[in-house]
Assembly symmetry: C3
Homo-oligomer: 241 residues x 3
């Protein structure tokens, strides 16, 4: 049976990196849609709010009239699919958080990152509201499983991310009582958040989901670049009934 | 050299699920025996005590006159092989805990699970003393690596487990001074207990063994259904000298 | 592009175990050098200090006039490459800690191991200053992924390690401000230190590095014996730009 996937990217990304993932999903008999979240396109409006980000994905789904889909969020994308699920619960078959933030009611993304990241982003934010990820952090903490050439090529596809998407508090009044099944896909070498009980992805974020299905695969935060075929296969394992 | 294995199943299981594991062990030149623990057969007496469970395995081993064997316990089965080891230490070559409870003296299994599981089992216990595992928990937390069809087929082989096997306190006066070598086999996607320091299998349970050999494999709590051949191979790695 | 590796072994080892790792690195187009740390050769002076160990590696690098190399430390070797990096920073392209200690300024290796290990080593230290690792610990906690024959053969290549290399406090006044990139290679079944937040290798040791690149591979503390080819390949992933 084929599933429909809606794929929500993370910070510094737009929808373009999903292309090889979508190709593999289609080979496997599924279909997939990937919006670019408001403000995340290169040259976009870096002053958008978190609510603008959420609205852009809700609008995308409404415009395409998508139903009965598996909704996937990567990293920052987790903070988007949570409010989208509150608004579109009846259309969603399952939620998949792939090394994604799972916010508690009223938190921002930055409430969940280590102090040194918060301080860094405050320092390097640009006047237009965008903030770029420094290359050394990308190279060693985000895409640690790439060789140097791929690390650079992939970095060239990134663009500044709207800082308010990290700092706005996100109301989540009904998310934790929604009856949508949930999965967490964890890449075992993902160090974009420092591994460990204090700041790691799993089980810190995953356990907030209550009952959830765990799927793991080897790789960094950016297997979308380093292993997109296996990522697609694991999204199926995470998303299927 | 061929080893002899005695395989003790977990809750909701009987001995039938071991069949493909035993077949693979035999292919590799070993032999294996798998009792059904008292009260665990479909339609059995769900009022049995933990001591009854232990006695049934001791009796099985005595009846078959097994010696010099590797004694394996899965999940609840860990709470059985601990007292069996106290009674039959001289017959046991090595103990293998496969995502199994390792009780401290005087604890019950339920003393080692999260409060929400305790509350759930109290609520859904049946008058005859049995308690069944709800399918949604099975699907997402126990057999997360199966597809939907296998998850359902495997669920159909389960039966209610005797609740006293989870709630009886188990005396373990000599276990931690026995000189039997010990191994812990951990499946890295096992979420039957919530991953993490508070309630996870490894290293919370494994570290109680003192000096032990760690073996890991990918998969859920129920690789006995999803990957029995690799399970057998890893039991050999865990059980060999 | 070929890299130059300098490989610093752990306790109870000398440089001989690196041979198959070096062979594989050379096949892949790299070159590698492996000193024996002072006092670590069989029959060597077991009374050497930690500073003697460090000096012997600094001297080796100077004597061979090695430059622009990736400096790798395994286990105890981590405590050696830290002061070597302080002295030879300009020659080092990247530091790789492979299941290695990362000391904080003024600590000894033994300050970072569980009390039961400290007590054991104090008890079994020999009059000449050497201390041997007992076979049961080697078999189950260090080389858990070997079969019994390989475990014994590898043990026969070990020799007593100089105890002061574990107990001397190591001054590290500049290490944590050096701008050398750093990687941590973690073997996922390494139980030479007990897994978990209190005493485990990763992320307890790795996180001390600040920004670092994580690489993982399956295997025990002693993949140098059980999987040297993959170890070499992972050292390249850890060491490359």
């Amino acid at each position: 049976m084929g599933y429909t996937f809606v794929l929500v990217h993370g910070s510094w990304h737009d929808n373009s990196a999903w292309a090889p993932v979508i190709a593999r999903l289609e080979e496997l008999g599924h279909r997939a849609f990937a919006p670019t979240v408001a403000g995340h396109e290169p040259g976009g409006n870096k002053g958008v709010s978190h609510a603008d980000c959420v609205a852009s994905v809700v609008d995308y789904i409404a415009r395409k009239d998508l139903k009965d889909f598996v909704l996937v969020g990567h990293s920052f994308g987790g903070t988007v699919i949570q409010p989208v699920a509150e608004q579109l619960a009846a259309r969603i078959r399952r939620l998949v958080f792939w090394n994604a933030f799972v916010l508690q009611d009223g938190e921002s993304l930055e409430d969940n990152v280590p102090p040194h990241y918060k301080a860094l982003f405050a320092q390097i934010a640009q006047p237009d509201g965008g903030v770029m990820l420094p290359y050394p952090i990308w190279r060693d903490a985000f895409i640690n499983d790439a060789d140097g050439d791929l690390a650079k090529q992939a970095y060239d596809t990134l663009s500044p991310t709207p800082r308010r998407s990290h700092t706005d508090k996100v109301p989540l009044k009904t998310f934790f009582s929604l009856e949508i099944p949930k999965s967490y896909l964890n890449c075992t070498e993902d160090t974009a958040l420092p591994p460990g009980a204090d700041f790691g992805w799993h089980p810190r974020m995953s356990s907030r989901l209550g009952l959830y299905r765990l799927v793991q695969m080897p790789g960094s935060h950016e297997v979308i670049f380093t292993n997109p075929r296996l990522l697609a296969e694991k999204l199926v394992e995470a998303g299927r009934d």
